[in-house]
């Protein structure tokens, strides 16, 4: 492991990669601050740039830097404007925005920066410890287990969608899988479901789909709900944290780094759940007097979600790097980028290409440090970007969405597909359908079918389900993940109805 860490350090500390990580963090922070552009959209925009770089280590380091920067940037708009760019930073606005309103915007941003740094760094240390362990377990996995594991991942994503949303998330996942079957599959060399359209021969482009499902609807919603964008940058003063505040947030940061990391490791959980859970846990365990402060500008209430979401983002790299399974929409986009760069993430990555594996982990440390050093002095200036009038901002967001899809495929038809899917994405969002499962299903679909087909061919049918115990166990877990939340919700409803009658 030590040798791997050294290889990683050597790669990550090369001048080119240092510049790449600094550039990535800066770009991520600036674009992440724009309400409506979350890490997922920004990474999707940056993928064509990363792919053109050619070197997979540099490309991944760039995307990891952009990812961290975007999360920090998202917190900035949550705290200053109460306009969270992404779901993962919503919890940060609960206490961050009241702090900013009471003239402590600078302090709030500093706490956010320090908590993010601590969460990300402790998360990366846990990643160094746990990734190789998980990776060696993962080497025991064959096609059948991979197929079952992907089903577990997709079921977990549906199961964590929230009460009343499980079947919707499931339908979105199936829709993503259906879309992945369009075009010529690697296994059969037969065009499927192309409806005779030549442009569909190679299937739908994943960047187009990512843009259409995330960036485009978010930008259009900015037009639909214009009051969400404020023009006030907020007053920035008093960056310092007092000794008492530091003592109050230190244990919160420690707890939430670990909790956030392990929530991030679970496929489908991700930063949003980690941040909400972190906030809820810290609020529940705080003394009664401090509990009342939560929601009114508590430093603990800001540090908890900020630490947890950064630790969870690092945690979500574990299933991606060791099993090749993305735990969130963002890592799903990263997986797509990796495949485009001819790198297949999974248990073999650490053995076959240790320089990529370790360089990414080392760049997380460097990225977090760079973010802290760059952002603290830049905080007052960064906030100015939020004052760009929406009349300029929105056409630019739409233009970058179009460019992302065009550069990815170099095909003007792709732009029409983008707009078409974008309209579908807007309609789905209006009807409260969760969109990330669709994209995760789409990206995993090809691999899932390949592993399923390979297992079917090896065992001459579906015998692999009961002949390989691990596959059976994983599939049972997947079924339990879907069925249990539905049953639980039904029971809770029945109890509530009974209580109402009495």
């Amino acid at each position: 492991m030590l040798e791997g860490i050294l290889i990683g350090l050597q790669t990550a500390l090369s001048l080119q990669n240092l510049l790449v990580v600094i550039g990535g963090c800066l770009i991520g922070t600036f674009i992440g601050m724009l309400p409506g552009l979350g890490p997922m959209s920004i990474i999707a925009i940056m993928i064509p740039v990363a792919i053109t770089m050619g070197d997979p280590s540099a490309a991944l380091i760039l995307l990891a830097g952009v990812y961290y920067g975007a999360i920090f940037g998202g917190s900035t708009s949550s705290i200053l404007l109460n306009a969270p760019g992404v779901a993962g930073t919503v919890a940060s606005s609960f206490d961050g925005y009241p702090m900013a309103r009471s003239g402590k915007a600078g302090k709030a941003l500093t706490i956010a920066a320090i908590s993010s740094f601590a969460g990300g760094t402790i998360g990366a240390i846990l990643l160094v410890i746990f990734a190789p362990m998980l990776s060696s377990v993962a080497l025991l996995f064959h096609s059948a287990e991979y197929f079952a594991l992907m089903i577990v991942g997709l079921s977990a994503i549906a199961a964590f969608a929230g009460p009343g949303q499980v079947i919707k998330a499931l339908l979105m996942t199936v829709l993503g899988l259906i879309m992945a079957t369009v075009g010529e599959g690697a296994l059969f060399n037969l065009p499927r479901f192309t409806m005779g359209i030549m442009d569909l021969q190679s299937g739908f482009g994943f960047i187009t789909l990512a843009m259409a499902m995330f960036a485009l609807p978010e930008a259009v919603f900015l037009v639909l709900k214009p009051k969400n964008l404020g023009d006030d940058g907020g007053e920035i003063k008093d960056l310092r944290i007092t000794g008492a505040e530091a003592r109050a947030i230190a244990p919160v940061i420690g707890r939430q780094s670990v909790q956030g990391f392990f929530i991030g490791v679970l496929p489908g959980a991700g930063a949003t759940i980690a941040s909400f859970l972190g906030y809820a846990v810290e609020r529940n365990i705080a003394p009664k007097a401090e509990q009342a402060e939560f929601g009114k500008g508590s430093v603990k209430g800001l540090a908890a979600p900020e630490t947890a979401n950064n630790a969870a983002c690092t945690g979500s790299f574990v299933p991606l790097l060791t099993l090749g399974i993305p735990g969130s929409g963002t890592t799903a986009i990263l997986l797509g980028a990796l495949i485009a760069l001819n790198v297949t993430p999974g248990p073999r990555l650490m053995v076959d290409e240790p320089q990529i594996f370790w360089a990414v982990i080392m760049s997380m440390f460097i990225g977090n440090l760079v973010l802290l050093i760059l952002n603290l002095p830049l905080i007052p200036y960064i906030a100015k970007l939020l004052a760009i009038p929406r009349n300029y901002l929105i056409p630019f967001i739409l233009f970058f969405t179009l460019m992302g899809a065009y550069i990815g495929q170099n095909n003007a038809t792709e732009l029409l597909i983008l707009v078409g899917f974008g309209i579908c994405g807007i309609a789905l969002k209006f009807a409260n359908y969760p969109l990330p499962p669709l994209l995760i299903g789409f990206i995993l679909g090809g691999m899932m079918e390949d592993n399923f087909s390979r297992s079917m061919q090896l065992y001459g049918g579906v015998r692999f389900i009961w002949e390989r115990p691990m596959t059976l166990v994983l599939l049972l877990i997947a079924v339990a993940l879907i069925v249990l939340p539905i049953l639980q919700a039904q029971r809770a409803r029945r109890v509530a109805e009974r209580a109402e009658k009495n």
């Binding site: 199936v174 829709l175 037009v223 300029y392 029409l416 359908y433 409803r493």
Partner: protein, 160 residues
């Protein structure tokens, strides 16, 4: 019927069409030697079509009831949304897609940025036009010269 059920109905139609193709049409063109395989190109789609039909029926029939989570949309304020501007912007994107090749990157992009601003109510031409022109040139330079991806800058007629 609520919007999510309408969408479930549309998706049910999509899954039925997809399922019909997978179950009844795809296997007809399969080569005889491939029929001996335990897995056919239609196997996975067949499973997906069944899952898709079941899930959309479950939503359509309202089988899963739970507390309605509050999403991004405030359904009580739907009437206050700015639909006209959003539709015009989407239309502008379609026009941009159709014009990008024949008109060239420079003219179509600069026009897109300016017209986009106008649709949103911006009238400060002296800021809007220079910003659009500088951004267009900067992006073209980045994509074509730095990244090496071909983007035709001018209309086809001018080049020939």
């Amino acid at each position: 019927m609520t919007l999510d059920r309408w969408i479930a109905l549309i998706l049910l139609g999509v899954c039925l069409a997809y399922g019909y193709t997978a179950w009844f049409m795809m296997d007809a063109t399969l080569a005889p030697f491939m029929r001996r395989n335990p897995i056919w190109p239609s196997t996975f789609p067949k499973v997906l079509s069944v899952l898709g039909i079941l899930a959309s029926l479950a939503i359509l029939l309202g089988l899963e009831k739970g507390e309605q989570t509050v999403g991004d949309i405030d359904h009580r304020k739907l009437g206050q949304y700015f639909y006209g501007q959003a539709l015009l912007l989407l239309g502008l994107m379609v026009v941009y897609a159709l014009c990008l090749r024949p008109v060239g990157f420079m003219i179509s992009t600069a026009s897109f940025l300016v017209i986009g601003g106008v649709i949103l109510g911006e009238r400060k031409w002296y800021i809007m036009v220079p910003v659009a022109l500088i951004a267009t040139f900067a992006v073209w330079y980045l994509v074509e010269e730095v990244l090496g991806i071909f983007l035709r800058p001018w209309p086809l007629a001018l080049v020939n």
